[in-house]
């Protein structure tokens, strides 16, 4: 509850910017693909979130299936809403959980900036394709 209350003023600022600044909708993410093996039921990945705009922006990260928009609850993103300063980047941790022995789990993590959806003709997002493999 506190978290939402803290974010709302930020959203108001972003909304105003979208209406008045032409280049307010931007997001960057990398790497676009990665894979890794683990001996446990968890595998972590680091992604780099990029704010190419000169002003601070709020971003949302979420996981979806490899070839659909279905959410993947077993993929955890401890910090899934991030405020990044202008022209800066930050690392985001993604943890795939519940890996069975020998399992190969493919999924995507997408990033988008938080803004009222109806204020954009093009809603931009970037997705990274991740593959986790449990070897034992």
């Amino acid at each position: 509850m506190i978290r939402r209350a803290m974010i709302r003023p930020g959203l108001g600022i972003v909304a105003a910017a979208v209406a008045s600044v032409a280049s307010a909708a931007a997001v960057g993410l990398g790497p676009l693909s990665n894979e890794g093996a683990t001996n446990t039921d968890r595998k972590g990945f680091y992604l780099t979130l990029i704010n190419p705009e000169p002003a601070v922006q709020q971003f949302r990260l979420y996981s979806v299936e490899w070839d659909s928009e279905m959410p993947v609850p077993r993929v955890r993103i401890p910090i899934d809403q991030v405020a990044l300063g202008g022209n800066s980047q930050g690392r985001v941790l993604v943890i795939d959980t519940g890996l069975a022995p020998g399992e190969v789990h493919r999924f995507r993590v997408c990033a988008e900036h938080i803004a009222p959806a109806q204020q954009e003709m093009i809603h931009a997002r970037v997705c990274s394709k991740l593959t986790a493999r449990r070897v034992a």
Binding site: L32, I50, M121, V126
Partner: protein, 164 residues
């Protein structure tokens, strides 16, 4: 030329030769300054120009970015991991006035400097850029309704996704 003048000239020549043969500074006195950078294999999408919808003045049955008062949207793509694929969802009407209950046909089309050439479509679509580093996509949108559009604010939206 006098002897004095000759001596001066010789002395000058020796001094010049001496300055050319001064040994370089010892290696241990040198400093190497390096600059290191890492290019993350990433994709950056920037909507550099938001689109505007105009209204057809003769019939009032179409809203479109190519109509008078409209403007195409421009999406800039910067990819450092090779040529990315850009996907567009089927466009929707994300905002409309309360008094409008029609079912418009909504479509988008786009071209890009990286080779995209998509005619107006109501479905999702995608292309892979032929430009490995950057691309600029020009997107047009329109909404058609034979019953027309009452006064109000309308918004057509598509989601553009950059991925490999």
């Amino acid at each position: 030329m006098s002897k004095t003048a000759t001596r001066i000239k010789l002395a000058t020549g020796i001094a010049a030769a001496a300055s050319l043969t001064i040994p370089a500074a010892p290696a241990e006195a040198q400093s190497v300054i390096q600059f290191t950078g890492i290019v993350v294999p990433s994709c950056i999408l920037t909507v550099s120009t938001p689109g505007l919808l105009g209204v057809s003045t003769n019939s009032g049955t179409e809203l479109g970015s190519e109509l008078p008062g409209g403007n195409a949207a421009v999406l800039a793509v910067i990819a450092t991991a090779g040529a990315p694929t850009i996907q567009f969802t089927a466009p929707t009407m994300s905002a409309k006035p309360a008094g409008y209950s029609g079912s418009p046909t909504i479509s988008i089309k786009y071209t890009s400097t990286g080779g995209a050439s998509q005619a107006y479509t109501t479905a999702s679509s995608h292309y892979t850029s032929s430009s490995p580093l950057g691309d600029t996509v020009t997107v047009n949108a329109k909404a058609d309704d034979a019953a027309g559009f009452p006064a109000g604010t309308y918004q057509v939206q598509t989601t553009a996704t950059c991925q490999q």
